[in-house]
Symmetry: C2
Subunit: 239 residues, 2 copies
């Protein structure tokens, strides 16, 4: 591997982690705005989206340049294409955080809805998935990536529970229908953030393992577990 | 350009158009199942998702092979990376069609909801966007791609209108709340299909123009219009 490609790869990895940090912060703030009914914080998230958009374009252009000029192969090629995908997932997570903030801004000005504890739990799971997906990338930790994937089931379960409660509540409080629909919109965006975190986890496994995970979860999971066993250590202790 | 890369590029383009045709068919069937309350057709869509998933993986692997083995540059590189993105959008459109079919299956067994004409209109716009996005790819027609993009505003407008009507209806028919929420879920998935069709249009412009459109729509649009003017013909007559 030439010195130059090493520098290039290092630099796009730093850039993607920088974007990841910004996205994590925005998801965090959007959820805090929603849970604490903080309209000013919601507005801050809504107004600050351009930074991530610009960085996303920059990373994509740099990845394309690396493909064209350095013509990476094998692991390096996987890293560049993996980063292109993660980049695109992060940008959408940023957009979804804005959508949550828009709902949070509306909901900050109406009477409180009775869903806070469960929304808090779902928010915690999704924030954890976002954080762990990025950590898995930094550490090339496919076992952590697998756990992000498993957490998505928990996020889906909490989402379905909350939607069920929202429908129950609406049927008894028809006057709050419009407000609850804003909350439902926020939850739906949260659930999509979890999906993108899962995509990132899949991309990390692709970068590390060279395997496309999508639609093949059980097969790839078994492979990772078998190898961990063969190595005589639990996948967990690898970190 | 070597003969081999020409054959490779031709072959992945054929593959992506094949997937595109399948996805179009599934979106179409899911919407017909929803509008005509056809549970058997909904089930057909739900059961047939694996084919697209397998093809998507195959195209992704072939694109990675082309990047590694043929090391395309300039326009060829844009084509390969553009196809990788379109591939991923198509796969998600297929998943969203399944989600719509799942809602359609539930709704086929409950009394009809009074939203059919407007849902039909939104369905027509989104089907058109899907079809035109793929056609723009086949013909390398950036003016058609721009129109897909503009149609997304119409899809968004119809979506917002329908959600407003759904909330109105629910407030007067609390006993139908759960059913309407299934319709809302189907509409939301339809709106996301429109977003993916818009992504495909952006990717077509990237492949043709070498410009990343995202977040820069006005700038790129002006460039395309200016060039069309300079060429002494309307962008429309290019097709």
């Amino acid at each position: 591997m030439s010195k130059q490609i090493e520098l290039d790869l290092d630099s796009i990895q730093k850039a993607i982690l920088h974007i990841g940090g910004l996205v994590e912060d925005r998801v965090d703030k959007a959820l805090t705005a929603l849970l604490q009914r903080d309209a000013a914080l919601a507005r801050e998230v809504i107004d600050g989206d351009n930074v991530i958009d610009d960085l996303e374009l920059e990373v994509e252009e740099r990845c394309l340049d690396i493909l064209a000029l350095r013509q990476p192969v094998a692991k390096d090629l996987r890293l560049v294409t993996g980063i292109m995908k993660i980049n695109s997932d992060l940008e959408r997570m940023g957009d979804l955080a804005v959508n949550i903030a828009e709902r949070a801004e509306v909901l900050a000005f109406v009477p409180s809805l009775p869903f806070r504890p469960d929304v808090t739990r779902m928010a915690a799971v999704v924030k954890r998935m976002t954080r762990d997906g990025l950590d898995a990338m930094v550490r090339r930790d496919e076992a952590l990536a697998l756990r992000v994937w498993e957490m998505d089931d928990e996020a889906d379960r909490l989402y379905r529970e909350l939607i069920g409660e929202a429908i129950q509540f609406m049927s008894k409080n028809v006057d709050r229908l419009g407000d609850v629909m804003h909350l439902v919109g926020a939850l739906r965006n949260l659930e999509r953030i979890a999906d993108h975190a899962t995509n990132i986890a899949e991309d990390v496994i692709f970068v590390v393992e060279g395997k496309i995970v999508r639609h093949r979860v059980l097969e790839v999971k078994q492979h990772i577990l078998d190898r961990a066993k063969r190595d005589g250590e639990s996948t967990h202790s690898k970190k």
